[in-house]
Symmetry: C3
């Protein structure tokens, strides 16, 4: 539960808000590289933290993200001509390069133009294009880009996409960090009872013979709906650890990373599985882009995996050409009440769409002043405290947590089945080793 | 004409408004029974007096109307699972019964849950399902349901539906109480002259040979466009009596009931005809639901009558699956100017749609500060004074008129042709007898 | 560049704004005559300077533009019956003539009605129907209608239409007065270079053999992108003169008229060409109607010219049945990026749609507080100063410039190729003679 003031502080990211100033210090994914496929191609509009921009890839293949209006008379540069390393306004031909410098004022005499150009630049974001993503930073002297593991693998071992979420960024992040809901929101239904979802089918929670670990895990998620949370702190953020009762006195751990200010690495994977990361980027305060990254540290992402991601599976949504989910607020996510009665807990197929529906359902901006939190909400509580502290630090002129500490982002998330007696320290070291988080603190 | 303050008081019904507090004491029709057709069926969203709710019919067939958000983290219960006598949130499985009691908190340990549940209830309305309608009251200790005659007849003698009106409730009520407009809004046109509308045809206002009373009545309505109003008061509201000149020195009386706070019984019926009632329930302050009840005290409503009502006739509109009229604000009620020139006064067929169009046309919320009222507006004036007085009483902590006096609603409306010399007292007693209204006051 | 206060003053035209009071003194085109084609035809809704009205052509063929609500109970007169020289409310039959006089109150007794009628009139605009346009003035004692040349030619020598613009009136006017943008916004592209647009084709800017003046002109526009502006003042407004380098030391002059408060006569024509005028009429502060007039002082407008205007060419847009351009804000003007790369500077065909796109792109209301103006913006600067001065005069109770001086509007615009040594005084007198503007001031 937050005060109304803290809820406002947490959720507002416009240019004049405390959280807005905080976010503007960190790198943000602004676009997928494939949204600007070619040099001198069409410029596109975008909105980032409530601010409008125009993005273009120039003749040299470098991306510019600049304020959208020509300083001459305010015509919108989306309509501009992307030519010869710059964007030219259609009204009177003023031209700007990807750094926002004004490079031509053709409707003035040469001496007037020469005098005016230095004062006619426009705001441009700092850009780093890496890992199929165009990253942006609002500072002219940005910190190094965080060393996310997904950025460090070869292109063939990575798949990236994005999807639109029709609510405030923070409640969407909270859904991503809250693995307790897996036992409900993502459950199946079988003969009227909650069931695990196996290979698209469903099954009551009965231990199978020769049941593989990946199937047993679904059963444990269903059977233990009140996991015990421990939150560990490290230099890039938090490792949220949820313990559930497994078979034979073992403990099933799901461990999620929260990385400042708006990233998560999701659990659900054992070492053989693909890793997954999300970044929630405010479009405005009532919607956000969710960037979705899948990678494997050792093997390529196959063509068939890519095709499944594109069609929508797991954390990847089925989206239209504008990356807006086909199931959305306006159509109640095509909720099927008969399926809700007989097959899935929600009547909405796929994890991404289930997460999306419930986060949207909290309102455009969730009201956190009347919550009744329980122990499974510990990760959510610590996330809020961590980002609000970063915000406080920025307001006090201090460097906020994780900013500029690129190596600290070299962490992993994932699942582990612990034998009786294994401590969380043992678990984290056994599962993650050097990827456990720098200066991780065990309570 | 009202002051701006009184217009505001009359029209605003949100939870923190004087009229809102007043309305919340009386019973309101919330839904048609057939909108929740089966136990454990899909929950539905609704809005009542500007407040959002979720309604569901539980395993025992009882209806709950509860606030829409789970108190845990604010997820919307519309997406919830309606199962085993309660609505279960899809996020973490919290469950609520139809009284709003929290009956399960599965993501907490049993002792934490047991402690938390009593403080985790949600607001629920009091419910009375009767006469094909789900009636709701905002009080935990509601008064008895008014004894409307429509509620007292066997099911087969009754037909109920509803329709959406795209303006404030009060101006729509005023249209229902204002029988003077019948001479214009509902008139026909024949050879360029105002005409009566007979059996779907039209006819100039010439007395026919062997003309039945039901046809003569249409002619009197057209011929006398300035009826004389007398308003009588009784314990449930007002009886509005409009006198028009009929043939042979007789007087044609149309008598309408206004019942607090938002019901009317319409005129237009002789004893052999079906009776009609409306209730105007604010959806928000710029739209309302109009519940429409037809019944006959002595005979069944036939199948063909039901089909005509469903298709839209008289006070029943032609509506879509969501009970929104096919002719609506957005399409100018499919107004046909050629028909307006040659056939009907408005170019819009059917009384319901004519009433709807003209009420909407007064604005989303009619401005009553610049009216020029005449004697035929007496009923409208008295309606405003009566409901504003009830509002004043509630604000002063007094019981408002009619509240809890269930028998006082046992009244009728209808038409009568009086011989020369018959007084209004004679007329009312002859026409309504014991249904004249308790403690009715003749001036 | 304007202060925020002056930008507000320039752009707001509602009834209680300084510019609104100023505009309400001048005549405005309200509708095309053909929008009310016949006596006693359907009334239509319109909005003028943010105010709603209903317009109708009465039995005698005269037009009334009246406030939209019946004073009795506020029903909207759009639904009214247009019959026997008046508009009759459908609710209770009150009737109003084209001057707003209440002529019938049929739901009151004759003596009450007679007493009430004089106090039951509604606001009506003064009307002058001339030149295929219904002109309106908010004053009961309006000045004479300006003697635009288009009004003075026979019907057959004139064509008038209108189009909707989705931005504030003032920035649209500025686009009309700013001939400097012709060298960019309206240019073609040929082999990657700016090119002239000839007969729908394109051509690099190379002097052709036996090139006619009309083609050379396109070349000069492209070649000289920084024209020199001189602004001359006369009794009806401003003559904006832009000089570009032509061949053989000649000077190519384009001369535009700005006439108070919201008219322009466009350049681009030599004496043999059709003349063109525009009026920008605020619908509200975020959109306007642009009336478009074409005429020739000496010859008829041919049928094929009329058909081309109707389909959209030059200053006439391709519009739908409601006069809304097919290319519009919502569809990004169907911008074709491939055409922008290879054929036209904007990727949007036709001058009207190019102007429309760039004006809209400045925002719903352009922000003029951060501009960087150059010499080619002189006409825009002088326009703002002129209309703001008129506004100041009105606020001070003085007669604003041009108001009532009907003859002063007898001016022309157009192009001229001056020999070396010809002064602007020579140019204006040679080109326009008696149509140069009364009391024109040469600097």
């Amino acid at each position: 539960m937050l005060s109304a003031a803290d809820n406002e502080k947490l959720t507002r990211t416009g240019p004049n808000s405390p959280m807005g100033r905080t976010f503007r210090q960190y790198w943000m994914p602004a676009l997928l590289s494939r949204e600007l496929p070619e040099p001198d191609g069409p410029p596109i509009r975008l909105k980032l933290l409530g601010e409008e921009f125009v993005a273009f890839r120039d003749t040299e293949g470098k991306v510019g993200i600049v304020e959208p209006r020509c300083p001459h008379r305010g015509a919108h540069l989306f309509f501009g001509r992307n030519e010869q390393c710059g964007l030219r306004c259609i009204y009177h031909g003023w031209k700007f390069d990807r750094h926002g410098n004004c490079t031509d004022i053709p409707n003035a005499t040469p001496d007037v133009a020469a005098n005016l150009r230095p004062r006619a630049g426009i705001k441009a974001l700092s850009i780093a294009e890496q890992g199929d993503v165009i990253w942006a930073n609002f500072s002219a002297t940005p910190p190094p880009l965080p060393e996310f593991e997904y950025l460090c693998v070869p292109d063939a071992q990575r798949f990236v996409s994005k999807k639109f979420q029709q609510c405030n960024w923070a409640q969407a992040v909270e859904g991503g960090l809250d693995t307790a809901h897996f036992s409900y929101l993502h459950a199946g239904v079988f003969e009227g009872q909650k069931a695990s979802m196996l290979d698209g089918g469903k099954q009551a929670t009965v231990r199978g013979q020769n049941e593989p670990q990946s199937q047993a895990r679904m059963r444990w998620l269903i059977e233990d709906g009140a996991p015990r949370f421990t939150v560990l702190e490290h230099d890039a953020g938090l490792l949220l650890c949820a313990a559930r009762t497994a078979d034979d006195d073992c403990t099933y751990w799901r461990m999620t990373q929260y990385l400042l200010p708006n990233h998560s690495l999701t659990p659900g994977n054992f070492p053989e599985n693909t890793s997954l990361m999300n970044t929630w980027v405010p479009y405005d305060d009532e919607s956000c882009w969710i960037f979705c990254y899948a990678w494997h540290p050792e093997r390529e992402i196959s063509q068939s995996e890519r095709e499944r991601y594109l069609r929508g599976v797991g954390l990847f949504a089925a989206v239209d050409d504008d990356f807006v989910p086909l199931r959305r607020r306006e159509n109640d996510y095509l909720l099927d009440r008969e399926q809700q009665r007989t097959t899935s807990y929600t009547g909405i197929p796929n994890i991404s769409e289930q997460d999306q529906a419930v986060a949207d359902s909290q309102g455009l901006i969730a009201d956190r002043t009347h919550e009744k939190l329980v122990q499974t909400d510990l990760g959510v509580v610590r996330f809020r405290a961590t980002i609000l502290q970063a915000c406080k630090d920025v307001e006090a002129g201090k460097r906020p947590k994780a900013l500029g500490n690129a190596e600290a982002f070299h962490v992993r998330s994932g699942d582990y089945v612990a034998e009786p007696g294994e401590s969380l320290l043992d678990v984290v070291q056994a599962r993650f080793g050097e990827f456990s988080g720098s200066n991780i603190v065990f309570p």
